[in-house]
């Protein structure tokens, strides 16, 4: 049994237990960091556990590989990014530690402690801001080497290619009011809106609601003592309010048109539609820019308070607090009350500017205070060992002669805040720089969008609650619940003291980082501006400031100040960069969500699988490619009988007296004269005369027609017809997609009639049921539509049966065909058979430029019709003559099968090969024992039967000859037998 004393020994920075902490000290768990074992308590984050163990360096920086430690401890900065298992870029300060967790430092070589890649800093003068635009570009052939080296040296974690896909999903939410941020302001707004009757979704990125009240003491307002530290009254009120749904550990990523929000909770992406929104997202604490400001041991005030109050961890023994506001003094009092050695308070203000109620107490307790002083440098190599400070003169300039060093192992800066207003900005809100407050504060928002709390620049808790209640009331009213609070609209707002210093940067002679994510220094900013990137948006793009994992939370405000100074302009004139989603990084897995790739299967799918079918993807459909031997399947059709599942064929029903007129316009051939019971092949073109689809269409009876389309073109044709129907063609025609209502099987081969005759009373004799006719017939007791058509070139019947009966009918056909040697055949055999007949496949043999005159379908084009889609284009092509033709060919060598897509070439004068055409289909024909195909050729070559041409194969040229007409049964006798 491990005692508390043991635990304290292995976690030397752990404070004694106290109220409000979130860890369970009764249990100790183990995890590893860079191969070394550490202890933690449930509730710890990875970072809090490591800090408790005395670990200061958690990562190495992006470019220079400088050691980095905890900075914000709020999930905003990049300093604690680690790899956990195969998950890269995990923020150690927010990820709860788990027993057995394996945590690794990332972007280091060979180790975090001794990272040789840190030598890159020696060459930093060769890698100034934007170096990738200026250097490593010559000689060009070495770029792959440069790129490999640079990518290896820089960057974040590694996404392992063999990592199994995680489980992600999405959820759509609809609500009246969204409150983004669960601090005192957000909670108050949510409660007020919910009490008005609105449905409220309350989001917070932390594990529990409460915001800064969880780790700070609201000291400033006497009345705020009514709000206890854990704000139990507020939290209990939320729990009791049925109209509020709380999402903790959830980051709102962005606002989109019409109040559509996107948020992420773990592996789930939330898509939210709301009527109104309250932005209560708090504020980012601003880092100060000074020499070595990235040294582990330099932290923000809020980070220290989180560690101390939530996790009982003190990240240093001797603390120097650098401040310019009362927050720093509050922090000093807080730490001092816990027995922490506050080595000094360095306040850049005059003594009389400090209004902290704790000042006298701290001074009397002997805490050294340096008014009108500023930090110059953090001293140390891999962790803070001390701090250099200097006095400010009467002009607020640094007096270097007053420089002195103080010993400490923790420097805490508390110099101001940047309101987190990204959501309001995305929604169309406006902000302005308030020079009195040295903050950019929201000044207006669109209707239905409200900003409260620290996001609105309000820090006093009582004021936060009052303003938020008004905003909550108005957000509910905007959503239709209650009345608008007119008093709130006319309120002059809360008068807040200045909390933020506009100094932002202390000059020096070492590296001072503005952007921790991309290792951009203040000198880099000056260089970029000197090079002409002097607008804030250009500066962002050139320097990549605010484009890293922090997305500007740590660097945006400081960059604006630096840009303004370098340009000699004001912060207001400089402006801000555009806030875009996502506000915080999100995994691609969360964006992708649950794997949803629709797959269509026919009712016979299981039968195909049970009979060893090799399935292929055709559009969304899964179809049998073959059942083991496609050549044998093709020969079975030629010699006996085969059965193929053609259920994916598009099947559309058209009813109404206007159908013939519609068909005349949609198809290039004639339809008015098609009598009931007959079937005709038709070709559709688009407005440009390009072949769109083909298939047969049957006139069932009176005003009812039955159209089939290609398997993958059913939806396109349905939408195409709907488009023209809604444009006024075929007035009164009703269109219904029956593709799935009927399953379809083609019984093909010389014995197909004999097979069907076993299953039906219908007279199938050639005279009673000739080629290109449709009949109703009971097949195996099921009423079916029977079409006598043939894509394969053999006597064949297409059986269309209601899909529920599909298995019954299919099995009946197989049973009936057994005595005739029936076999199922797949798409591959069908492609061989149709090629032997010279039938084209739209989309394979044609493309987005193919017209029917060129595609060997001139016989179908009826230019004497009054009008049809594509007619003007086809008339022009007819007049000019097609430049290319789709034509059959035979290979000269019998065993050479050119791949589909190969180029057809002719030698030019200079010996180069000119491309004059391409192969669209090719197969070995088992019936003809020749290699045959279809290809596009120039008209002058294609029009001469027997003309030879060259196909560029892999490494050689193969000869082929033009072939006119069908390769097999050119007169179609077998179809009509």
């Amino acid at each position: 049994m491990r005692t508390e004393q043991d635990t304290l020994t292995i976690m030397p920075n752990r404070l004694q237990a106290k109220q409000g902490e979130v860890i369970d000290r009764s249990t100790t768990i183990r995890f590893t960091f860079d191969g070394r074992e550490y202890s933690a308590h449930p509730g710890d984050t990875v970072a809090s556990a490591l800090t408790a163990a005395g670990v200061k360096v958690l990562s190495r920086s992006f470019k220079y590989h400088r050691p980095r430690g905890l900075l914000c401890c709020a999930g905003h900065c990049p300093n604690c990014l680690v790899q956990i298992g195969d998950e890269p870029n995990v923020r150690a300060c927010t990820r709860p530690v788990e027993a057995g967790m394996e945590v690794q430092a990332q972007n280091v070589w060979p180790s975090l402690k001794r990272d040789l890649l840190s030598l890159t800093e020696l060459g930093s003068r060769f890698m100034p801001v934007g170096f990738y635009y200026k250097t490593f570009i010559r000689p060009q052939k070495l770029w792959p080497l440069y790129e490999h080296t640079l990518r290896h040296a820089a960057g974040l974690g590694e996404a392992h290619i063999d990592t199994p896909p995680g489980e992600f999903d999405k959820q759509y939410l609809h609500t009246d009011v969204v409150v983004a941020g669960g601090g005192p302001a957000g909670i108050s707004a949510a409660l007020t809106a919910a009490e008005a009757g609105a449905q409220v979704l309350l989001f917070d990125e932390n594990p529990t609601l409460g915001g800064h009240l969880r780790f700070t003491i609201p000291l400033e307002s006497p009345s705020s003592t009514e709000v206890s530290k854990d704000s139990p009254e507020l939290l209990e009120a939320v729990n009791q309010q049925p109209n509020i749904t709380v999402f903790t550990d959830t980051s709102v990523l962005g606002w989109y048109q019409d109040n559509w929000l996107c948020a992420v909770k773990g592996t789930r992406l939330l898509k939210i539609r709301t009527k109104s929104m309250v932005v209560a997202t708090g504020a980012y604490e601003m880092p100060l820019i000074f020499d070595n400001n990235d040294l582990p041991g330099v932290m923000l005030g809020g980070a220290v308070q989180r560690l101390v109050h939530l996790f009982g961890v003190l990240p240093g023994k001797q603390v120097v607090i650098v401040t310019a506001n009362e927050d720093g003094w509050d922090l000093a009092a807080d730490l001092h009350s816990l027995g922490v050695n506050v080595a000094a308070i360095v306040d850049e203000r005059e003594p009389n500017a400090c209004a902290s109620p704790y000042r006298d107490g701290l001074v009397n307790a002997g805490v050294p205070v340096f008014y009108r002083h500023i930090i110059l440098e953090a001293i140390g190599s891999s962790a803070v060992r001390g701090v250099m400070i200097a006095r400010l003169d009467e002009h607020s300039k640094i007096s270097r002669v007053t420089t002195q060093s103080l010993q400490c192992d923790l420097i805490v800066t508390s110099i101001g805040w940047t309101p987190a207003t990204e959501l309001a900005y995305m929604a169309g809100g406006k902000s302005e720089y308030n020079s009195d407050r040295a903050e950019i504060l929201p000044v207006s928002t669109p209707p239905g969008i409200y900003v409260v709390g620290r996001a609105a620049g309000i820090h006093v808790v009582d004021s936060q609650i009052t303003e938020a209640q008004q905003a909550g009331s108005n957000a509910a009213a905007f959503a239709g619940f209650g009345e608008f609070d007119e008093a709130a609209a006319q309120s002059p707002g809360v008068i807040e003291p200045r909390r933020t210093s506009d100094r932002v940067c202390v000059p020096g002679n070492k590296k001072r980082f503005v952007c921790y994510c991309e290792d951009v220094t203040d000198q880099d900013v000056e260089t970029a501006i000197a090079e002409g990137y002097d607008s804030i948006e250009l500066l962002k793009r050139y320097s990549t400031i605010s484009m890293g994992p922090c997305q500007g939370a740590m660097c945006s405000m400081n960059t604006i100040h630096l840009c303004a100074r370098a340009n000699g302009s004001t912060v207001q004139e400089t402006g801000t960069t555009t806030a875009r989603p996502p506000i915080t990084p999100v995994t691609l897995g969360a964006l992708a969500g649950q794997n949803m790739e629709p797959v269509q299967i026919t009712p016979i799918h299981q039968w195909h699988l049970d009979h060893s079918a090799d399935m292929m993807v055709a559009g969304l459909w899964l179809r049998p490619n073959h059942y083991g031997n496609p050549v044998a399947e093709a020969l079975c059709v030629r010699n006996r009988v085969g059965l193929i599942d053609v259920s994916p064929l598009g099947k559309l029903q058209l009813t109404g007296p206007g159908v013939p007129e519609l068909l005349e316009r949609i198809y290039i051939n004639q339809w008015r004269n098609l009598r009931a019971g007959r079937v005709r092949y038709g070709v559709m073109c688009n407005d440009e005369g390009v072949v769109l689809n083909d298939g047969v269409c049957a006139h069932l009876r009176d005003d009812t027609w039955y159209m089939t389309t290609t398997s993958t073109g059913a939806t396109t044709v349905f939408e195409w017809l709907q488009w023209w129907l809604q444009s006024g063609w075929g007035e009164g025609v009703h269109l219904t997609d029956l593709t799935d209502n009927y399953s379809a099987f083609n019984v093909a081969g010389p014995q197909s009639r004999a097979v069907l005759e076993k299953l039906t009373d219908r007279n199938l004799a050639n005279k009673a049921f000739p080629y290109m006719r449709i009949r109703s017939a009971r097949i195996a007791g099921v009423l079916c539509r029977l079409l006598r058509i043939g894509f394969t070139g053999e006597l064949s019947y297409e059986v269309h049966c209601p899909s529920g009966y599909a298995v019954h009918v299919w099995e009946a056909l197989m049973d009936a065909g057994r005595e005739f040697g029936i076999a199922p055949f797949g798409v591959e055999a069908q492609r061989i058979l149709r090629l032997e007949k010279g039938h084209i496949i739209v989309g394979q043999d044609t493309d987005a430029m193919s017209d029917p005159l060129s595609a060997n379908m001139a016989w179908a084009v009826k230019l004497d019709k009054p009008d049809f889609l594509g007619k003007p284009s086809l008339m022009r092509i007819f007049a000019e003559g097609p430049k290319q033709l789709l034509v059959g060919f035979k290979m000269v060598e019998p065993d050479v099968v050119p791949a589909e897509g190969l180029q057809i070439v002719v030698p030019e004068m200079d010996g180069q090969l000119e491309i004059i055409g391409w192969v669209t289909s090719s197969r070995f024909s088992p019936t003809l024992e020749e290699v045959i195909g279809l290809c596009w050729l120039p008209t002058e070559i294609a029009s001469q039967n027997g003309t030879s041409f060259s196909i560029r194969m892999d490494g050689h040229i193969a000869e082929a000859r033009v072939h006119h007409g069908a390769f097999y049964d050119p007169d179609g006798e077998r179809l009509r037998m």
Partner: protein
Amino acid sequence: MSTSKTPIKLTPLHATAQRLGATFTEQRRWRIPEVYTSPEAEIAAAQERLALADETPNGKLLIEGDQAESVLMSTFDLGSLQINAGRNGIYRLRNDLFFISTPPGRETNVQKKLTTTSAASEQFITVTEVTHGRAEIRVIGPDSQELLSKVCGLDFHPSVFPNETAKQSSLAKTTQLIIRCDIGKLSAFSIIGTQSLGPYVWDILMEAGREFGVVPIGREALLALADN
């Protein structure tokens, strides 16, 4: 002609139900899952959590035409319906398009009635039976709204999507007709779409519903739920 076996209709989810261990029964020549585990367990799952049922055999008719409303009103004494609203299994999808859901086998009679009425009144409508072409998956249980919110962007709250409402929407990247058809106080939705996509939609719903403890239920549990 050889006399064949009596034709039996299989739903597009038949193979899925077989894999899930269903025993089968027949209803109006449709072979449908009777029980997967036990009726008691399936009823409890539907009442307390979430269940999926294959209700493809329900009759389905599409009625299209400018006079469709008039024919329906005179045939079934039906009042006017707003778009998306439904009554007695008749739902208005567009101004000129209605969907009718009937108990299994009843669709033929309904189709005949409508055809007769339209012919007698010389009103041109098209009545198309699409029972075989559409899979129907019933999502039942207190968590049904939560499940659907993971795969569809519609708002399923009863105030927005009350009982006897039908909406066409994208669901898991497919087009589906979603009808709210509560069983008493138990939330329930019918997901009706292309039968060839039925197994895909079923699998998606099962996967998305795993966190709610979704189970498939058969006809016996469905009948018991309806009786209750």
